[in-house]
Amino acid sequence: MGRMHRYCSIAVAVLLASCAHHPADDPADPLEPVNRAMWTFNSKADQYVLKPAAKSYVAVTPGWAREGVTNFFSNLVYPTTIVNDFFQAKFSQGASDTGRFVVNSLWGIGGLIDVGNRVGLPKHDEDFGQTLGYWGVGEGWYLMIPFMGPSDNRDIVGKGVDIFTAPAHYIPGRYDLPHYLVDYVLNSVNIRANALPSDSLLESQFDTYLFIRTAYLQHRQALVYDGNPPPEDLGLSDYGDDSSTAAPAPAPVVPGQQTPTKSK
């Protein structure tokens, strides 16, 4: 008992260590050797199990069915977004997302059809990791989790809390092992199937581990800022030879002068 307690304390201390935001190209990754081993493991699991399964799934299901599956799982966990809207004091977004969940669950046949998007209730992406980030918690260490993929101290805590904001958690008898496995397998295969077209891009990287790490941390940082993160410092003015930078500005842009335009 006491020992268990002590292990938990150590785990929490490690998880919350170094709560600062690091630039994505120089993150805190003290576990890199372990993370790289986990990444190799995940890649093998993908190569031999997940990817072949995803390919077969694409071969035997029509596109509209896969879209339905994607919508269904997205709607199933949507209360997590709603709860975290409110945790981040985004009240009107919370109201809109509540409406979206109701509309999609009822008129979208349990979430299979994304009706909300068509009636002006767009999808948002919030979770407890983002809530922590919103209130100033840094991402801490980068982590590569077996079978799960990239994460960090902040987001792994967030994932743990997210379990309790997904309604499926509260349906009695629902989360026995067989149900859970069916859910997990279908959801994973479906997500992987949606990702198949990107494989070639991954293959043309110098170091896929670093690519994934940079992409993950930037992506999460952008989500914390709802898509408008502060611009990253590209460091152009840091060192001499400025032939490529900064000449006089062209005509300034008058605010409000331009509206979004559609070009085919």
């Binding site: 630039p23 994505a24 190209d25 120089d26 879209e67 799960m148 993929g149 990239p150 994460s151 994973s188 997500i191 949606n194 990702a195 077209p197 990107s198 070639s200 891009l201 991954l202 043309s204 990287q205 110098f206 170091d207 670093l210 690519f211 994934i212 940079t214 992409a215 993950y216 930037q218 992506h219 999460r220 940082q221 952008a222 898509g227 611009p231 990253e232 590209l234 460091g235 152009l236 060192y239 001499g240 030879d241 032939s243 490529s244 930078t245 900064a246 000449a247 006089p248 500005a249 062209p250 005509a251 300034p252 842009v253 409000g256 331009q258 509206t259 979004p260 335009t261 559609k262 070009s263």
Partner: protein, 220 residues
Amino acid sequence: MIKLLTRPLLALALAVTASLGVSARADTAPAQAPDVALKTTTDQIRGMIKDHYAEYKADQPKFYQAVNDVVVPRFDVPGIAKAVLGLNYRNATPDQRTRFATAFKDMLVHSYANAMLDNYKSVSINWMPPRMLNPTEAAVNTSLSRDNGQSYAIGFRVHVVDGEWKILDINVENVSLVLNFRTQLNAEIKRTSLDDVIARMQNGQFKSDSNANASQPKAN
């Protein structure tokens, strides 16, 4: 988690697709809003693909040439090279800087030209109003929609070079191309050398033989 990564990945291909579409037409006036030239070039390369699709499909070098002529001038290639090299830029000789810039540019053209060719029809671009970061730097955000309903956030970071707006970075779902390559390339340079990395980019061999063995000693 896979979704988190792959959406940006796919989008990156599509983005560079749309984005590499920028023109350096001599008749374009330099005094204009940051997004005007971007739109012009995007329309231009898409028009060219539309007119010469079969030709380009059959003759890849010809398409690379078209991209080099029309799209590449819209990018601040030396600026991108500098941002990607980061601290390594300081130690590089002028010759290395030039060779790196050219190799990096060619690598991007070769990587993304085909995605551009294959996807030009299924994509439409929604341009947001540009956001000025400072008088000579701006962010131009777009939303790229595919005909299957998926959409991606694509952003351009542009700045002024010789009175013209040029692309310095592309963000796909807020994942920066420059930061990504900066991380990867600087790690590779540390393990081997700048010349080695340039040579590998030129040969299209991104993965080094020693990739499995990260403790490979530095060559220089």
